[in-house]
Amino acid sequence: MNNNFVKGSWQEILDWAQNKSINMLHYCTGCGAIELPPTMTSRYDMSRFGIGPAATPRQADLLLVTGYLSTKTLRRLIYTYEQMQAPKFVVGFGSCTINGGMYWDSYNTIKQLDKYLPVEMYIAGCMPRPEAILDGLLKLKKMINNGEADGYQRYQDNLEFYHQNQEAVLGEVQRTQ
């Protein structure tokens, strides 16, 4: 039994555990926040899939960006993302994170979240209903289980690209590490 095999199988076990237990930090700036309480509470109950809310970025695995991002909130979002611990995933939520949505020609919102943070998947809609959110999160679980959700590695590999894009809109960004 060689070392790589052991490492790979252990990683598979961790991926499996990760897909069964996801703590979600919902970054509620946009109107998408209003769709999350029914998803979490009695009607749709996402906790039966092992997805629950997290109190702080340090404890979270999943960053839900619920709606439009002004350049001011993008800075906080980047700080939040960088505080999270390594297997971490970003889900863009609603059409605002895909192409700007109804804020397409606004002067102070960003249009494509993917240029600033590595997004695993988008949930389309304006706003997506709780069924759509659950469907999206179940797909994310499948991706994590298969080891396809590797956003945090993409962020490390293409750090230059992301930093450049971030600094293009924000000016200076405070880096902790």
């Binding site: 629950g52 109190a55 340090r58 611990q85």
Partner: protein, 298 residues
């Protein structure tokens, strides 16, 4: 030599058992709360998956004090565990274990406090100061209860207090001194930080308090610490008021009953503010405990 190996094996067995049982209890509590809220709820084994996931994650340290605080919190509860009889499992029995357990539980809290100092997060400091304030609140009625029990049975070992209730179930302190058992139940809810008295963790207010900066492996360690703490506090209650048990299965069953009741009470109430919580502890539980103590002494 054989004796030493036997003792170490016993240590490990008790630690692993208490951790596993505590995590199971946490899963059961999540399921019960879900059913009360008309939800389906996560599976009962969810806390095991959480721990596995957390130990697989990266973790960022905030320096030596932060690491040491987490280790001290976990070590404090494991040390406490060895002085508590779990059914017939009893490692050390001597006079004064009741007071020793109270002291050692404080070690775990102080470990958490050190960890928060190391992290330097203001919300964590608020959380731990609330936790220690609340400790001041519930320990006073609890100590009054303990001293009146010690006075009544003339022994200060948990084992002795448990043996004193042997025989019929009518000898249990739950039936002999029901008011005291009620006060101790309220104190137990406060100790475990359940709903009316959860101002120290308050996730929506101060971002889960003492554990606000702990992610990944640190959070996993603190989850294990919490599971053992639950077992210690439930075992203390079962030993003092439900007459203990002569084997681990009926003991676990009694702990489960107390845990389910505490969870149900916890899911009914909103949260006390910290000063109101302490005022509550010093008004009703302390008053009733003192009355009961006077009744026992006179």
């Amino acid at each position: 030599m054989i004796d030493l190996i036997y003792k170490i094996g016993h240590f490990l067995l008790i630690t692993v058992f208490a951790t596993a049982l505590g995590l199971l209890f946490m899963g059961i509590a999540r399921k019960i709360i879900a059913r009360i809220q008309k939800r389906y709820g996560p599976p009962v084994y969810q806390p095991y998956l959480d721990v596995l996931k957390l130990f697989g994650k990266d973790a960022i340290t905030h320096g030596f004090i932060f690491d040491f605080g987490a280790v001290m919190a976990l070590g404090g509860v494991i040390a406490t565990l060895f002085f508590i009889p779990l059914g017939s499992w009893q490692l050390y029995s001597m006079e004064g274990t009741v007071l020793l357990v109270i002291y050692l539980l404080a070690v775990a809290s102080l470990g958490m406090a050190m960890g928060t100092v190391g992290s330097g997060n203001p919300q964590a400091s608020i959380g731990i100061s609330r936790a220690l304030t609340q400790m001041l609140g519930y320990e006073l009625p609890f100590l009054v209860i303990l001293f009146s029990l010690i006075f009544r049975y003339q022994t200060s070992s948990i084992w002795g207090l448990m043996q004193a209730q042997a025989g019929s179930f009518l000898n249990w302190n739950l039936f002999a001194y029901p008011m005291m058992a009620l006060v101790a139940f309220v104190v137990l809810i406060g100790m475990m930080g359940k709903k009316p008295f959860d101002a120290m963790i308050a996730p929506s207010e101060i971002g889960s308090g003492p554990v606000v900066e702990s992610g990944g492996k640190y959070l996993g360690m603190l989850l294990l610490q919490k599971s053992i703490t639950i077992i210690i506090e439930l075992a203390l209650y079962v030993n003092l008021f439900l007459g203990g048990a002569d084997n681990i299965f009926s003991f676990s069953f009694k702990m489960l009953i107390v845990w389910i009741l505490a969870t149900m009470f916890g899911s009914l109430f909103p949260r006390f503010r910290i000063e109101d919580g302490v005022k509550f502890f010093w008004k009703w539980p302390l008053g009733i405990a003192i009355l009961q103590a006077l009744y026992i002494i006179i």
